[in-house]
């Protein structure tokens, strides 16, 4: 029997609307809902702004003959993106695999820890400061140390990514799992629900909106860390290419890599705002 089920024996739920508080530790749900695209009018508008900015940039750079090492023209950046794609493709895959494997490990551990710790309030209070410490310390700083121990390979980066994303997933999920609605637990118990059924059918769905926010923030933090670790250690990965091209002042290629990184970030956002729309829209 879990803590909340025991609580039921001591008090009768008050049935107040338990609209769970929307703001967790690192809530960016505002950004998720801010970008809602309604219809073609808005799409056209957004595209028009892009065209004006890029076109203007192109015009100014050509007019004043700005050299590439100062600022590349959008057309040059686009060309670099296309022509260097075959060589940069492998680096793209390396960064993606660092991100995905580190994230899967970190996010799973974070999620499981959150689910377990919220069952034991004392343990939660003891562990949380350490998780906050992990969040506040940029794990990027650990990469050189990890490299000393593990060598110049992909492992230090995977570990750094999981250390960056895991705590983020965890702290948000903890906020989610703390939203315990005693009245709904009572409902399930009145039909003879087991502790596992209560978790699966009440506590998890209730926590899901916050878990999704955690997964999104964790993903973005993971990306930052993956690119950052590429810069710090090794000769491969998108981060490494960023340092490489900027040291040669090949700014068009530099911006091409930035675009690739941005595409990964935007994909993370798209995936989780889709998931959020499906599983978390009930609380709006």
């Amino acid at each position: 029997m879990d803590v909340y089920e025991k609580q039921l024996e001591e008090e009768i739920p008050d049935f107040e609307e338990h609209i769970p508080e929307k703001h967790g530790a690192f809530d960016i749900s505002a950004t998720v809902s801010a970008v809602k695209i309604h219809g073609w009018k808005q799409v056209t508008g957004i595209l028009a702004v892009a065209i004006v900015i890029l076109g203007g940039l192109e015009l100014v750079i050509r007019l004043f003959k700005v050299p590439e090492f100062v600022f590349p023209a959008p057309s040059a950046t686009f060309k670099a993106l296309v022509t260097s794609f075959p060589t940069n493709y492998t680096h793209f895959l390396i960064t993606i695999s660092e991100l995905v494997s580190g994230y899967v490990v970190g996010a799973s551990i974070g999620l499981i820890l959150a689910a377990v710790l919220t069952q034991v309030p004392y343990l939660e209070k003891v562990i949380t400061p350490y998780i906050l410490l992990l969040i506040c310390t940029p794990t990027l700083a650990l990469v050189p140390l990890l490299m000393l121990k593990l060598g110049f390979n992909i492992w230090p980066r995977i570990i750094a990514v999981s250390l960056a994303s895991g705590p983020m997933v965890m702290i948000n999920s903890v906020t989610g799992f703390r939203r315990t609605d005693l009245a709904k637990i009572a409902l399930a118990k009145s039909y003879g629900a087991t502790t596992f059924q209560i978790f699966k059918m009440i506590r998890f769905p209730l926590a899901l909106p916050m878990i999704i926010v955690g997964l999104l923030v964790g993903g973005i933090f993971g990306l930052i860390t993956a690119v950052g670790s590429d810069m710090v250690g090794g000769k491969v990965g998108l981060g490494n290419k960023i340092t490489y091209y900027s040291s040669l002042a090949r700014m068009a290629h530099f911006f091409a890599i930035i675009i690739m990184v941005a595409i990964i970030g935007i994909s993370i956002w798209l995936i989780f705002s889709r998931v959020g729309k499906k599983y978390a829209s009930w609380q709006e």
Binding site: F15, K184, L187, K189, S190, Y191
Partner: protein, 271 residues
């Protein structure tokens, strides 16, 4: 099996920061099969505590309660509970909400779909199966929760001021609807309310509780025709019964005040 609910001298004491709170004190009650019994009393007298004790979720700490001959010590599958609020799960649509008990009980959903659809129809909610709770009014939500409680066909219904949160007009509609369901399904119902008018309109028998700690004050057999004729609530006889019960409650309060044991309901978070 004649007596479906038997309550024998149950008591409940809550521990609070300001010392123990005696919510119920040796309260007894019997409900026959197919009967509709209402429990009334001033706010804070322990009605909710009594009903939750019967659910098996919130045990008494004195006396015994039996449902269908068995001592109540855990929730039972032959009891349906209707709470003060509809208490629907916002992430499930209406059909998924009413099938929630079936899912928990690991029964075959397909066996119940027909039944549940009929029930939804009887509360005029056909066509709302795929809607989400937030799209429904309070009254509609509470009708969903009635269907949910009936979905697995329990013999007994326990209801705690189920319509208390609704506006007066919807509340009267729901009372009539409930009587229709009761007539059709022949459930045994224990219904808690602080509205005497509602209790008299609905029940065959009204148990009156004293102010806290809730003890037996009186039992009234309601001698009004069944099914309740339209306009019964405007009739002399109805008013007389209501007035008699109200007088009883006022007397209980005065008696407690005279004895100096009357407590204001300072702890009342639940109504």
């Amino acid at each position: 099996m004649d007596e479906v609910i038997v309550v024998e001298k149950v008591s409940k004491v809550y521990a609070s920061e300001r010392g123990p709170v005696h919510a119920i004190d040796r309260f007894s009650m019997k409900v026959k099969e197919g009967d509709f019994v209402a429990i009334v009393g001033p706010s804070g007298c322990g009605k909710t505590t009594l009903l939750w004790g019967l659910t098996g979720l919130h045990p008494f700490n004195g006396g015994k309660a039996y449902i269908l001959g068995e001592e109540v010590d855990k929730p039972r599958k032959d009891v349906g509970i209707i709470f003060q609020q509809a208490n629907l799960l916002p992430w499930r649509n209406i059909l998924q909400n009413v099938l929630f008990p079936i899912e928990i009980m690991k029964e075959n959903i397909a066996d119940y779909e027909e039944r549940v659809k009929d029930l939804l129809d009887s509360v005029e909610l056909t066509g709302f199966e795929n809607h989400y709770p937030r799209e429904l009014s309070g009254g509609m939500q509470q009708r969903v929760s009635i269907v949910r409680a009936l979905s697995y066909d329990p013999k007994v219904l326990l209801m705690d001021e189920p319509f208390g949160a609704l506006d007066a007009y919807t509340r009267d509609e729901m009372d009539t609807l409930l009587l229709g369901i009761w007539k059709k399904t022949k459930k045994t119902i224990a219904f808690v309310t602080h509205r005497i008018e509602e209790a008299v309109y609905l029940a065959n028998k009204v148990y009156v509780m004293t102010p806290r700690p809730g003890t037996n004050s009186a039992v009234f057999d309601i001698d009004l025709p069944r099914p309740r004729p339209e306009g019964i609530t405007m009739e002399q006889k109805y008013f007389e019964i209501v007035a008699e019960i109200k007088k009883r409650i006022v007397k209980d309060v005065e008696k407690q005040k005279e004895e100096g044991v009357y407590q204001s309901q300072a702890y009342s978070t639940v109504t």
